[in-house]
Amino acid sequence: MTTEDRNIDKLVRSYLHEHEQKVNAPAFLARVKAAKPAKRRRPALRVAAAVSIAAGLAIVSLHLFRNESAQQAPELPPISELMQDQGKAALTGAAAGVAAAQHSLQEAAAQVSMQTAPLLTQNLSIPAPALDTQLDSLRRDAGVIGQNIRSLIYRTLSDAGLQS
């Protein structure tokens, strides 16, 4: 370390020391003590993201299942009554799951709108109209995804001869 380096360190240290002395440590401590512990926020956005990914995977799986069924249908033996019942129950369950997922996504969008939109607008300087547009788009997407999955399920049921 050269003398010049030592001088620079000395200058920076004196600058830091000067401002360190100006901090009122007891007042700072009192301020920290008075601050309320942060509440854990409901991870609305994470829920929305997880639901979107799950819905996407469901769409891809159903597409694959449908294509495979269509290609292999002539070679497959007739489905027994038991298999039909099980398949129908599974697909009905899937439809209910999709409806629940759609509801969660819309709920998550509503939570974002109600709870975090003012925070986002104030703290991140996101213009309110832009945020509203995003949230509207999210709600619309939730509706579209739900409709698409439902129609895919019904089409699959229809293809498999489980529903007229």
Partner: protein, 178 residues
């Protein structure tokens, strides 16, 4: 109301002023430094998994560095004629010691303090942080831990930061005989 152990209080009384002084040159508006450190301390206290009495110094400086960089690079400043001037509080700043009561000495000290702050702010954020932490007598290993870098990288940052400061502050240092 938050309850703190006496040990934690003692640590906070010692570490917080250093962290505020460190943050001062890392944020755009020096008066924001205390708010940044306050937010960081509150967040650290909310996490029970952190042992602040044992490892608090490293965690605090690391979190303050990240918070300052986030605040500097991601926050959009609102330009307004009524906005407070960044150097509003700096008018009271002075490097003069308690014994320097001569107005000329006070003015010189204030000018030098402002020059150091200005030139520190002109350094890239990581260089600035590394130079400040070195001046706070942290080892290269500790600085590397705080900044999430390798030791050689920290050495390079400090070397370059010192060179730039020496180049820019050199005339003033000569002039003020410091």
């Amino acid at each position: 109301m938050r309850h703190l152990d006496p040990e934690l209080e003692a640590w906070l009384l010692h570490a917080a002023p250093r962290a505020v002084a460190y943050a001062r040159a890392l944020v755009k508006r020096p008066e924001d430094a205390e708010d940044v450190v306050h937010d960081v301390v509150c967040r650290l206290l909310d996490h029970n998994e952190y042992n602040l009495a044992k490892d608090g110094e490293r965690l605090l400086f690391r979190s303050v560095t990240n918070a300052c960089i986030n605040r500097t690079t991601r926050r959009r400043e609102i330009a307004s004629l009524s906005a407070t001037q960044a150097d509003g509080a700096a008018l009271q700043d002075s490097l003069a010691s308690g014994s320097a009561s001569d107005p000329a000495q006070i003015a010189i000290g204030r000018e030098l303090s402002q020059a150091i702050e200005r030139e520190l702010k002109n350094l890239p954020p990581l260089q600035r942080a590394a130079v400040e932490l070195k001046a706070l007598e942290k080892s290269l290993k500790e600085i590397a831990d705080i900044l999430g870098l390798t030791v050689p990288n920290v050495g390079v940052l400090i070397f370059r930061g010192r060179k730039l400061l020496a180049k820019r502050l050199g005339p003033q240092v000569e002039e003020f005989k410091l």
